[in-house]
């Protein structure tokens, strides 16, 4: 039982409250979805239920009371709430404390001091269940986003809490992985677990939902029962900034030769284009991770790079941008580019954009990136179109996630780079922002750049991509690699 009564909450240093006068009562065994646009307060409402709000944020202001399984959340320690709730945060890979499924599922039970026999039995049961869908002996960081999610749910529910809280569990998941997620949640619901999900995507939960709570500006705007929700048309969802059915993008396949391509073509069928890769082979940690005989990407087009984790998407991005050594050549407009030259010609918009903001103001960030390249668009125009002009004096780290991402896009545009790679740019964004990200990607392509879009988000790919190249992991001994260069082994770049 969860009871939230008259709760308002303001994060430390925030200029407006994240939650306003919230009233919500969730009965045992219910499946409730909190939804709303980014910034509507749905994640904050979820964090009320495990005590992270207010206990994890010093100096925030909370009024009202939250009661979970009879405990007032401000009166007890976080781990007492953790014992009765399981939480899966938005990025499963960031919350793993160990590096394999067995230790991860044992973690909570060990800490809560369960008897050893019970831990063993719980871990065995969970691993047996997971093993049907997840290679459980693999290291967690090497699993796909969907598999990591399955492990995170198992790790959050192994100590048998009566409540499960999930923050945007479907972001970064492919349509397949989303179906598996729904099946797992359905099993948990059948076991009587109360489930609360904060989400933008709703349709995949259609058959599980008991209630939908739509939030806006920190307050509840609409509540739908299961029957009402099923009758809501897709354009009504769109008005609330919610994503409806997942669109399956139908993209033309980019003709590509090599063992890494899921659907390889003969090398002769690969047409010439602005960016050409010839004989690219890369071995990391004793394994061939990428083998592309021939691939070509056109300027002014957006090519989606798809494929499971470990298929070589990040490695491909690192090779093209000159960050990773490999055998083979990369040509831009017919000229062979060295690794250094590629670094100067390309840009990446990373998944965590904080990693690439280096200065103390938006204006300084833009000035640092600006070049005298005649092709580069005008700075003022770029700032204006990306809605950043009024933020010129702000510190980049004080911007919201969406603003930071737009700032990085602005730096990419004013630097006039010819090769631009987006790495999972849409993780956890709502429908409105998704459109704006797609527009930015399109705009960079329209500036004349070769754009590669690494993403699992079918909605984004449907909006922003022209073609697709799907990579597949190379089985041992499959690649005809010879004379390969070996670079320094890097930990796998983080992609979901």
């Amino acid at each position: 039982m969860i009871e939230i009564s008259k709760v308002s909450w303001r994060y430390p240093h925030a200029d407006k409250p994240a939650l306003r006068n919230l009233d919500l009562r969730i009965a045992p065994g219910q499946f409730v979805v909190l939804c709303g646009a980014s910034g509507s307060g749905k994640s904050s409402a979820l964090r009320l239920m495990n005590g992270l709000v207010p206990q994890f944020h010093d100096d925030g202001q909370l009024t009202g009371t939250v009661t979970v399984e009879g405990m007032v959340t401000t009166d007890v320690e976080l781990d007492a709430l953790g014992l009765v709730t399981g939480t899966v945060l938005q990025h499963p890979r960031r919350q793993f404390f160990t590096d394999n499924a067995r230790e991860e599922t044992a973690f909570a039970m060990e800490n809560f001091g369960f008897p050893r026999e019970q831990i063993q039995a719980g871990v065995d049961a969970n691993i047996a269940d997971l093993a049907e869908r997840v290679p459980v002996e693999q290291r967690l960081q090497h699993l796909s986003g969907g598999q990591q999610q399955q492990v995170a749910i198992a790790a959050a529910t192994a100590h048998d809490p009566r409540i499960l809280l999930l923050d945007e569990p479907s972001s970064n998941l492919s349509a397949d992985a989303v179906r598996r997620l729904a099946a797992t949640l359905s099993d948990l619901k059948a076991r009587g677990v109360t489930i609360v999900v904060a989400e933008h995507r709703l349709r995949f939960l259609r058959d599980l939902i008991d209630r939908v709570v739509v939030m806006r500006d920190g307050a509840i705007e609409i509540e739908w029962t299961a029957e009402q929700f099923r009758a809501v048309p897709d354009d009504a969802l769109a008005r609330e900034g919610l994503r409806g059915e997942i669109r399956s993008p139908e993209l033309a396949i980019l003709a590509t030769a090599g063992a890494s391509a899921l659907n390889p073509s003969p090398a002769a069928e690969v047409l010439d284009a602005a960016l050409e890769l010839v004989g690219i082979r890369c071995r990391l940690g004793g394994r061939t991770v990428l083998d592309l005989e021939r691939a070509a990407f056109a300027a002014g087009e957006v090519t989606a790079i798809r494929g499971v984790n470990g298929a070589g998407k990040s490695t491909l991005a690192r090779i093209i941008t000159g960050l990773q050594r490999s055998a083979g050549t990369v040509r831009l407009d017919g000229r062979v580019l060295s690794r250094r030259a590629r670094q100067r010609a390309s840009a990446i918009v990373m998944q965590d954009v904080q990693r690439q903001l280096f200065t103390d103001s938006v204006q300084a960030e833009i000035d640092l990136a600006r070049t005298d390249e005649p092709a580069a668009p005008d700075t003022a125009v770029v700032l204006e179109t990306l809605d950043l002009a009024q933020l010129a004096e702000r510190h980049p780290l004080a911007l919201s996630g969406g603003q930071q991402q737009r700032l990085v896009v602005a730096t990419v545009r004013v630097s006039g780079r010819r090769i631009v790679i987006f790495d999972e740019p849409s993780s956890g964004v709502d429908r409105r922002h998704l459109q704006s990200i797609a527009d930015q990607i399109r705009q960079i392509a329209a500036d004349g750049a070769v754009v590669l879009l690494i993403s699992h988000d079918d909605d984004l790919l449907a909006l922003a991509a022209d073609r697709q190249l799907t990579l597949a992991p190379i089985a041992r001994g499959q690649s005809a690699s010879r004379g390969t260069a070996v670079g320094l082994t890097r930990p796998f770049e983080e992609t979901a």
Binding site: D79, R94, N111, F112, R116, H159, G286, R318, M350, Q356
Partner: protein
């Protein structure tokens, strides 16, 4: 699946308590006055440990670093005497001790999961505050390493990572690296600590380990190896403490 096999081998290796004791012992031996006597033994141990877990990069880096330090610290001053060389030589005389200490420490970090570490510390009845802090630190190393690598990549693409830039504006370059690195690491650690606390890390309950640490034959081998290299250090001639004529 080489990495899985390697991980499984490592997990069946030394007891985490042995590894902690070994790191303390080696550090103490090589850092103490007269510690140069034990540096070759420490380097040999570090290489042997790297071999045992098949950490190829360390198998190469440790001996190369040791040899470079030796050449700069002992051989070069004999061939070429000038103040700069002397300063470098004195520096290398100290740094070579770190090669041994870091080499052994790297094995501990690479092969011990946070769960194993807390189990080991719990077995020693260390206070929770210490065991939880150390376990979190151990978990945090790879986060910082991954974030640093990503920030460096981003700097390279923006042309901010060049040696000329570093030489001309050292403070600015450091700032451009550290600020995003710390911001990104903090963000990554927030989810990690929220999830760990909710799952009872550091709670009042007495933790129970699913796999309590046990000493086994690898630990016995380690004791024998330690005795051997200690004896060798004392009996055999040492290039670091004998003056080259």
């Amino acid at each position: 699946m080489p990495e899985i096999a390697a991980a499984a081998v490592a997990r069946r290796g030394l007891d985490p308590r042995s590894k902690i004791l070994l790191v303390l012992l080696v550090s103490l031996a090589v850092m103490s006055p007269g510690g140069l006597l034990f540096v070759p033994a420490g380097v040999v141990l570090a290489i042997a440990l790297a071999l045992s877990e098949r950490a190829w990069s360390r198998i190469v880096v440790i001996p190369v670093a040791a040899v470079v330090m030796y050449l700069l610290g002992w051989v070069l001053p004999l061939l070429w005497t000038n103040p700069v060389v002397t300063v470098v030589a004195i520096g290398c005389g100290y740094l070579i001790r770190f090669v041994a200490a870091f080499g052994v420490g790297a094995h501990l970090i690479a092969t011990t999961s946070p769960t194993q570490l807390s189990a080991a510390l719990h077995a020693w009845r260390l206070p929770r505050a210490i065991s939880v802090t150390l376990a979190v630190m151990l978990r945090f190393f790879p986060v910082v390493a991954a974030e640093s690598a990503a920030v460096l990549d981003a700097m390279r693409l923006r042309g901010l990572a060049g040696a000329t830039g570093l030489a001309r504006h050292p403070i600015l370059s450091m700032e451009r690296f550290t600020v995003p690195m710390i911001a990104a690491s903090l963000r990554a650690s927030e989810d990690l600590s929220a999830s760990a606390i909710l799952r009872g890390l550091g709670s009042r309950h007495v933790p129970v380990s699913l796999d309590p640490p046990r000493f086994g034959w690898p630990d016995l081998m380690l004791v024998l190896a330690l005795a051997t290299v200690a004896a060798a250090s004392l009996l055999l001639p040492n290039p670091l403490t004998t003056v080259i004529a």
